[in-house]
């Protein structure tokens, strides 16, 4: 049994908290423990924050968050049409010399079990994040 929930949200800072709250309530429903719910909360926030911060679209344009919940895992997709970026330019942060930016994707990858990003320059980005239940 898989349930799919979808949210469509304007790309504004004030709504990222709403998505975070909704997704953490879902993760809680799905049976994740407190630590995993926190991980999911941060990861989805980072993904939404990237859309809002780096998106080149009108702030009224909406992005989509889709959650697919089954007995063994939650999949969260964050999909925007906000211009995309050249992923080959991505640089992993160097934490001996931390900079103000550049932590988002690094944190998402550390907190989620699987992360796939697909971005097309001039179009948009989608990020797929998976977390398994009961995984050690």
């Amino acid at each position: 049994m898989t349930d799919i929930l979808k949210f469509s949200i304007p790309g504004k800072p004030e709504y990222v908290g709403t998505v975070r709250l909704a997704v953490s309530s879902l993760a809680n429903c799905a049976g994740f423990d407190i630590e995993a719910v926190e991980d999911i909360k941060v990861a989805v926030s980072e993904a939404c924050t990237n859309v809002v911060c780096h998106g080149k679209s009108n702030r009224d344009d909406c992005y989509e968050v889709a959650c697919e919940i089954s007995e063994e895992r939650i999949i969260i997709l964050v999909i925007d049409r906000a211009g995309g970026y050249d992923m080959s330019q991505y640089q992993r942060p160097v934490m001996d010399n931390p900079k103000e930016g550049g932590l988002g994707i690094f944190i998402i990858k550390a907190l989620m079990d699987e992360v796939d990003i697909f971005s097309e320059l001039g179009m948009g980005t989608s990020i797929k994040m998976v977390k398994y239940l009961n995984r050690l």
Binding site: P13, E35, E38, V42, C48, V52, I107, L111
Partner: protein, 105 residues
């Protein structure tokens, strides 16, 4: 999401004692930045950031703290995080920021 900040200069210790209460995310991070900037504007000194009532922070908030750390280096002042909750400790650990910002953990 809301963030409350209590800012206090400790004359004895000659340092700022700043307490962040609530959540720091993309919508509240500017408030944290403004408070930290205002403190340093008022008096160049070390900052102790008390996190026992901070429930949530993500890269936007961590970015503000890193940025502040950078500005303070010039004057050889430091920013130090104390009493983070478990979820925040995890994030500081993942990013290795605990080694730089949390001498006491």
């Amino acid at each position: 999401m809301s963030l409350k900040i209590q800012s206090n200069f400790n004359d004895e210790g000659n340092q700022w004692e700043i307490k962040a209460i609530g959540d720091v995310d993309i919508s509240t991070a500017p408030k944290l930045r403004d408070c930290l900037d205002a403190a340093l504007q008022d008096k160049k000194a070390n900052i102790v950031l008390h996190l026992e009532e901070l429930n949530y922070i993500d890269s936007t908030g961590l970015g503000v703290i890193i940025g502040t750390m950078g500005k303070m280096k010039e004057y050889e002042n430091q920013i130090m995080l104390v009493n983070p909750k478990e979820n925040i400790k995890k994030l500081l650990n993942i990013t290795s920021l605990d080694r730089i910002l949390c001498p006491k953990i």
